[in-house]
């Protein structure tokens, strides 16, 4: 297991090319070993066997040459043919060569010693035959006969020893053959086993290698496929190798990561843009609302300065003529008019707004006498609180027009302004016919606006609400409570801590 881990560590650090080469080399090596090993074992055994027989062959050759030599030697001694003498020398040389060619192999000392004996005896034999031949040539009959008989004896000894060695070799070879025979069969069987198991091992190794190499690739391709289908949330691909595939996998991981980041960035941007657009829309609406308010204000004061001056002149005339009520009436009308001539963008105080509705109410009272009652309850501490202009008067006008317009009894309008927690609460209440809950919702959400513009030239409640919301940047600023026949109550909650930032924008 350790070796396998080491191998893996080793492979991890190399390129795909190297890894592939190593894998294939390992496979080839294993296959070679399996094919060479049996071949080697069998061939070595065969060689060993043939070596044992080689000696027999050589000995037989030696024996044959010796026989030939002996026969020509005897022939020469008997008949003294010169041809025989030539043959004798020829065979002498041959015998010497053959004897020399037999290497003494000391792996079997007994055989080596016998062989050595044989070689030495051949040398002795040839000494004797040479001496005999010399004596024969010198016609020394006694001497050549003596040498002949000596050489003849040695010839016999040599033959005996060759026979002895041959026999011994034969017995040894038989023994070897018998003892080796069964085992050779076993070796062959085991060799087949080696081949089969190495083939198995090779197949497993190949599968293992291929799996190791292709596994990350298939993971990569799967992940790439998912990305093309728009799923950027692919899992991180883990590759242990530091080869090309490892590089690819890491690059891929980085790529998916950056794609993910990029996509989320784009989403954020789009969100921001849509918010900006909304803001712009809001600003536009503020502008349009103001324009509408201004328009209505203008409608109400055709040449307002002329009218204001005229009214002031009227008031002075009334005073001169001693008509105090008329004078006050005209003065209030003029004041109302002047309030409307102000720069509408600038915020006013609650006190200003209250003053405005007082003027308005005075005029209405003069006009409708006892038909309308007007009750004002103001907490003096909140008079300096800032608020947008043209808010309260339209609400009162609304209450008068819609709430008290068609009723029989005396209409009453309450205006209460008091301090409540962190804001100034301004309450405008009538005891008119009231409106339905649906209508309230319509008014608050602005749906009623389109319907009403035709009927009325007053400033719609929605316009007021919209301006308040934008001015204070707060939704929960106006509430309307009403029931049919039970009057309507509009409550404004004006924040006390307003600093007037919105006005410069709007």
């Amino acid at each position: 297991m350790n070796a396998l881990r080491d191998l893996k560590n080793f492979l991890r650090k190399h390129t795909l090319k190297k890894r592939l080469i190593i894998h294939f080399m390992a496979t080839i090596l294993l296959m070679s070993v399996t094919s060479i090993f049996p071949f080697y074992t069998i061939s070595v055994l065969m060689e060993e066997m043939s070596n044992t027989f080689e000696m027999n062959v050589k000995l037989n050759d030696l024996h044959k040459t010796l026989e030939n030599l002996n026969s020509v030697y005897e022939e020469y001694l008997n008949l003294k043919y010169s041809r025989s003498l030539d043959d004798y020398y020829k065979y002498c040389n041959a015998l010497k060569k053959e004897a020399d060619s037999i290497k003494i192999d000391y792996s079997n000392i007994e055989n080596a010693l016998i062989l050595k004996d044989i070689k030495n005896m051949i040398a002795t034999y040839m000494e004797q035959t040479d001496a005999a031949v010399m004596a024969r040539r010198g016609r020394d009959v006694d001497e050549y006969y003596l040498y002949y008989s000596k050489s003849n004896k040695i010839f016999g000894y040599i033959n005996e020893y060759i026979q002895k060695l041959n026999n011994s070799l034969f017995l040894q070879n038989t023994d070897r053959y018998l003892s080796v025979n069964n085992r050779v069969y076993l070796v062959e069987t085991l060799n087949i086993g080696v081949i089969v198991s190495v083939v198995l091992l090779n197949i497993i190794l190949m599968i293992w290698f291929i799996h190791n190499i292709t596994q990350p690739i298939s993971e990569l391709s799967k992940a790439a496929d998912e990305i093309t289908q728009g799923n950027y949330d692919v899992p991180h691909i883990q590759v242990d190798y530091e080869d090309e595939i490892g590089v690819m996998a890491r690059a891929f991981n980085r790529m998916t990561q950056s794609i993910r980041e990029y996509v989320s960035e784009i989403k954020e941007k789009a969100e921001l843009e849509s918010r900006l657009k909304q803001q712009e829309m809001e600003n536009l609406r503020i502008k349009s609302d103001l324009k509408e308010a201004e328009l209505h204000a203008l409608q109400a004061q055709i040449n307002p300065h002329f009218l204001f001056n005229t009214l002031n002149t009227g008031a002075q005339l009334a005073m001169l003529e001693g008509a105090d009520r008329a004078c006050t009436f005209i003065e209030r009308t003029a004041e109302l008019l002047r309030y409307n001539l102000r720069n509408l963008d600038k915020p006013v105080t609650i006190g200003d707004e209250i003053k405005n509705i007082e003027n308005y109410m005075h005029l209405l009272k003069e006009r409708f006498a006892d038909k309308i009652e007007f009750i004002l309850e103001i907490d003096k501490s909140i008079l300096d609180v800032k608020m947008p202009s043209m808010i309260l008067q339209p609400i009162v006008e609304n209450a008068l027009m819609h709430g008290l317009g068609d009723i029989e009894h005396t209409g009453t309008i309450w205006v209460k302004a008091c301090l409540a927690d962190s804001f100034a609460e301004i309450l405008i209440k009538d005891n008119g016919k009231g409106i339905s809950e649906e209508r309230i919702q319509e008014i608050l959400t602005g749906k009623a606006r389109e319907k009403d513009t035709n009927k009325s030239n007053g400033i719609a409640i929605h316009n007021i609400l919209s301006r308040l919301k934008i001015f204070y940047n707060e939704d929960n600023i106006m509430s309307i409570y009403s029931e049919i026949g039970g009057g309507t109550e509009v409550v404004l909650r004006i924040p006390l801590d307003y600093e007037g930032r919105r006005v410069s924008n709007g």
Binding site: F37, I109, V184, G193
Partner: protein, 335 residues
Amino acid sequence: MKNKFFVTFVLFLVILILTTTGVIFYRIRSTLKDTRHNTGIIVPDQIPKYHFAMICKDDDAPAWLSIKKGVERASKEFNVAVEFNTVSTSNEEDLYKYLDIAIASKVDGIVTYVWDDGQTGPLIDRAMEEGIPVVTIGTDAKESKRIAYVGENKYTSGVQLGRMIIAVTEKKGGVVLLDSNKKGNEVMAQNLMIMGIRDIIKDYPDIHMTTVEYDSSNFLGIEDAVSTLIKDNPELSTLVCTSEKDTLAVADILVDLNKVGYNIIGYGNSSELLRYIERGVVFGTVNVDHEQMGYDTIRALVDVRQNDRISAYFKVDSFTITKQNVSKYIKSGEE
């Protein structure tokens, strides 16, 4: 994980098979190399330094086996090979032949048994002329140019036999000396031994010793001789043998005939003889350390090869084994 386990398993299998094959293969090779066949050559474990030839006789086989043991010991110690040619008694021509072969084979040295000065001497001289040192063993060829003789003092052995005769017969009675018909130098050796015996017992007139000759070349010779002896000499109490082979044969015959009342005095220290001594079948034997003799011959040849000059006479002392000291030899024999 499973995959890895499988790989490891197959790898293990391959290694196992490879190892087994290797072991078997190695054993086959060593078998091929190791097969030895008895060629009669004693070899050391390494390549021998010298190649000697030894010619001996199977006449007194147990003694020669001991000698061979000594030769084997020396062979290992001095790293020499010895061609051990045993010639049967009935075919004495072979003795000449093997000596002749040894000379023709130009061996580094010859150890030979001398059966006849007249025939062996010239061959020994020829070997010496060829530069082959010759050491004689058992019997000597005094007139030859042999460089050394290794052997026992036959006369001393005879004296020891004589002393045992006196001890066993209580100085009276009939004693028969079984004397195989020998030839050549053996006769001299035999006579020396008999002389030793006679020199001892001549002071005891009540001991009547007769010598019976028989044909040692024939196995039945001694059996016939012993049966006849027992039948013809009722007063016979003691049988004396001069060789180990004879001693064993006489003891066997007497046991076979169920005649255990005889004293047997003999020669040798084979384990069978020792057992006979222990059981009282054989009274005692004279011994020579034959193993030492074999060892000395080889040592002499190695010495002469390396130092040129050696002592010309290696005498091996003889000693007796009786029931008193037999246990010592049985133990050492079993070792």
